[in-house]
């Protein structure tokens, strides 16, 4: 990734080769999965039916929250200084949802029926129905939010103007949809109080998921900004200094969000009087997640904001993203069926890991393709400063 991305003419750059191999290999496995069924590519059992792929469904959506986080900050709360980061954030969010939809398709038994909940027989009592509806609408919203990028690239001025006009409306709609589906993804686990470890299970899981998605989203923006600057530094309009400033500002937001998240976790344990679980093996693992990946980043973000240390904030953003991934995997895979013995437990098959890597690579490749060609990291000269 350190190679300059200007090798537009060259097809066989190291980056392209590596990602190409991953995509080919992963693609082959995906094809085989559809040819032979889920048992071919996964270790799913009858007692553990949602595995690594479901865990990563949650991860992708949580980290795709960069879209709503930044558009809300800029357009609703009026923090216009973050404007240069809006498009990368929305694009990475869009990629996140794309990956989510793809991994969902791989995980479903009959993916070709994916439109059934909308058109054939809606099951409105289901949390999954609400998620499906909200994600479908939100995906559309994000797509519409990104169309100006395409229109600018294509030069369709009138179309662009029309969409820009409804930005605030789209943002409001997007935030409202995000609130719903991010929290409802947590609500999926409300149905299994006996199977999810008490430390992770709570009637407030939806709230936990929503806040941690906001946290993850902001941290993703920081990371995307960092990586974009490193790879396309010269192309990126915003200066290094300005980016650092914005990073520090985002760090402040993250610190506040993480502090709220930590407080919510404490209150949750107090309300249900779960303190005694902390002394067990599971409790230690929970403490690792909460102290190491929630409290620690909060402190580091606050410190970094105060002392104006953009590098520290970037490191902490990585820590936070890892923490969100850890949390989602804990809830869906690790702490689920916690009472099982080792023989009964589910451990992912190697092909499941390959598919996840395949999808992440795909996301990166598409992001790169769009960012290199379209006015995402910079303003199109025709529309400079007009939005």
């Amino acid at each position: 990734m350190n190679a300059p991305a200007e090798n537009r003419g060259e097809l066989f750059t190291p980056f392209n080769i590596i990602t190409g191999l991953i995509l080919i290999f992963g693609g082959a496995i995906v094809v085989l999965r559809f040819a032979h069924g889920l048992s071919y590519a996964t270790n799913l059992t009858q007692t553990t039916t949602w595995g690594l792929w479901t865990g990563f469904k949650l991860v992708f959506v949580a980290l795709a929250a960069s879209g709503y986080a930044l558009t809300t900050a800029v357009y609703i709360f009026g923090m216009h200084e973050y404007h240069p980061l809006v498009r990368p954030a929305v694009l990475s969010g869009f990629m996140g949802y794309t990956l989510f939809i793809l991994i969902l398709i791989f995980d479903l038994g009959r993916a070709w029926r994916i439109y059934y909940p909308f058109l054939v027989r809606p099951g409105v009592t289901s949390a999954l129905f609400e998620i499906a509806l909200c994600v479908a609408l939100y995906y559309t919203t994000q797509f519409v939010e990104l169309t100006p990028v395409g229109f600018e690239w294509l030069g369709w001025k009138r179309w662009r103007k029309a969409v820009i006009g409804v930005t605030v409306g789209l943002t409001v709609f997007g935030l409202f949809l995000s609130m719903l589906h991010q929290s409802t993804l947590g609500a999926l686990f409300l149905a299994v109080p006996g199977k999810l470890h008490p430390l992770w299970y709570s009637p407030y899981i939806p709230l936990h998921f929503f806040i941690s998605s906001a946290v993850g989203g902001i941290s993703m923006v920081i990371l995307v900004g960092l990586i974009s600057k490193r790879v396309w530094g010269h192309k990126m309009e915003i200066t290094r200094k300005k980016l650092d400033q914005l990073t520090i500002g985002l760090g402040k937001g993250s610190a506040i969000a993480l502090a709220i998240y930590f407080a919510v976790k404490i209150v949750d344990i107090s309300i249900a009087n779960k303190w005694h679980y902390l002394g067990t093996g599971w409790g230690l693992w929970y403490l690792v997640e909460v102290l190491g990946f929630v409290l620690l980043p909060c402190v580091l973000f606050a410190h970094g904001h105060r002392e104006k240390l953009p590098r520290l904030i970037r490191f902490t953003a990585l820590l936070t993203v890892l923490g969100v991934i850890l949390n989602r995997l804990n809830v869906s895979v690790v702490a689920y069926n916690w009472k099982f013995t080792i023989e009964q437990r589910y451990f992912p098959y190697w092909m499941e890991y390959v598919v996840v890597v395949f999808l992440i690579t795909l996301g990166v490749v598409i992001f790169r393709w769009v960012a290199q060609r379209m006015p995402v990291l910079y303003d199109h000269p025709d529309y400079k400063g007009s939005h």
């Binding site: 032979h36 889920l38 007692t47 999954l128 409001v172 149905a191 023989e343």
Partner: protein
């Protein structure tokens, strides 16, 4: 403007109607369809012959179980329902001297408030008035939320099938029940450990058995109220946890945990756009105010600057004038005495 009498009457009528409708839907208890069937499994009568497994597989066109009747090795590890067996018998305690081994049959419980039906986002499950919960493979998308959520681990999925995978489980032999016959397992069980009948009657039978043989049974009919009750009732001779059943389940149906949260969605839908629009308006207003302040400040600055400039100009003019006067005076002082000669 005061409302007219007609308006008032209209309002009262509307309110009364609304209240009536609200009262009709408020807080009524539903005990389940009357006359629905159930099965009573008396696990103290179960001798572990697994005839029910054979019968169930036969009725559902599955291959027969690999272990023959009487095979004891099959009980060494606990088993659950899979896509190749919808019911299993597990051994929970080995025979000790004169005390026989403890077995229990496990399968879908056909809950009164099925969690699987509640979480399915294509409504593939139906709770029939007769009791069984049915599954429709024609709409199933294969998300497996039902398998994930079932508290009894009773559902299984056909992972091996790439084209038509289904969720599979005990169906309480619904077609047979409709014809007035018994489910296959009830007919196959040699000791009558599986009894089919009206659920209400079976509960009475269970209670009577407990009363008659208090040392044989734990005083609890599992499935009577657990998670709002199930169609399969179980009598046990050992504490529930020791026979693989969850103990101390709440009375409230399991789906309620999710629906309580989901009921918030319409409220969020109603409130949030307005709230966010308010935020937006607030931030816009704040911007406008600060812009206004900025402009006023600029104007003020400009005016002050102009005034200052004018002042400076006047001052400069005055000074220039003064300098000129001074220069003139100086010039006059230094003027030659030529004008004096003319006088003498």
């Amino acid at each position: 403007m005061s409302p007219s009498r007609r308006d008032f009457i209209k309002g009262v009528a509307a309110g009364g109607l609304a209240a009536g409708v609200a009262r009709a839907g408020a807080n009524k208890r539903f005990d389940g369809y009357p006359g629905r069937y159930g099965l009573l499994h008396d696990s103290t009568l179960c001798v572990g012959c697994r005839s029910c497994e054979f019968a169930c597989n036969e009725v559902n066109d599955l291959p027969p179980p690999t272990a023959p009747i009487g095979d004891q090795k099959i009980f060494d590890k606990p088993r659950g329902p899979t896509d190749k067996r919808y019911t299993v018998v597990n051994r929970y305690r080995e025979a000790q001297g004169n005390k026989p081994a403890v077995y229990r049959k496990h399968q879908c419980m056909h809950c009164n408030e099925p969690c699987c039906a509640s979480v399915c986002f294509v409504n593939a499950f139906t709770k029939t008035p007769e009791g069984p919960v049915l599954y429709d493979p024609n709409v199933c998308v294969g998300c497996r939320y039902c398998v994930f959520a079932c508290p009894y681990y009773a559902l299984a999925y056909e992972y091996d099938d790439p084209a038509t995978p289904r969720v599979v489980r005990c169906t309480m032999c619904y077609p047979l029940i409709k014809k007035g016959r018994n489910p296959a397992c009830a007919d196959a069980c040699p000791t009558g450990a599986v009894l089919f009948g009206k659920r209400k009657e079976l509960i009475k039978v269970a209670r009577e058995r407990i009363r008659k043989h208090p040392e044989r049974y734990v005083d609890y009919v599992f499935g009577e109220h657990d998670y709002a009750g199930t169609s399969w009732l179980t009598l046990v001779g050992l504490p529930l946890e020791q026979v693989g059943l969850p103990a101390e389940l709440p009375y409230e149906p399991l789906p309620n945990l999710t629906t309580h949260f989901l009921s918030l969605a319409p409220i969020v839908a109603a409130i949030f756009p307005g709230l966010l629009a308010g935020f937006y308006a607030f931030s816009k207003r704040r911007e406008a105010v600060s812009e206004q302040k900025h402009r006023t400040q600029l104007d003020g600055e400009r005016a002050r600057a102009l005034a200052e400039l004018e002042q400076k100009l006047l001052e400069a003019a005055r000074l220039a004038e003064r300098d000129k006067q001074r220069a003139v005076a100086r010039a006059q002082r230094l003027a030659p005495p030529a004008e004096k000669k003319e006088d003498s």
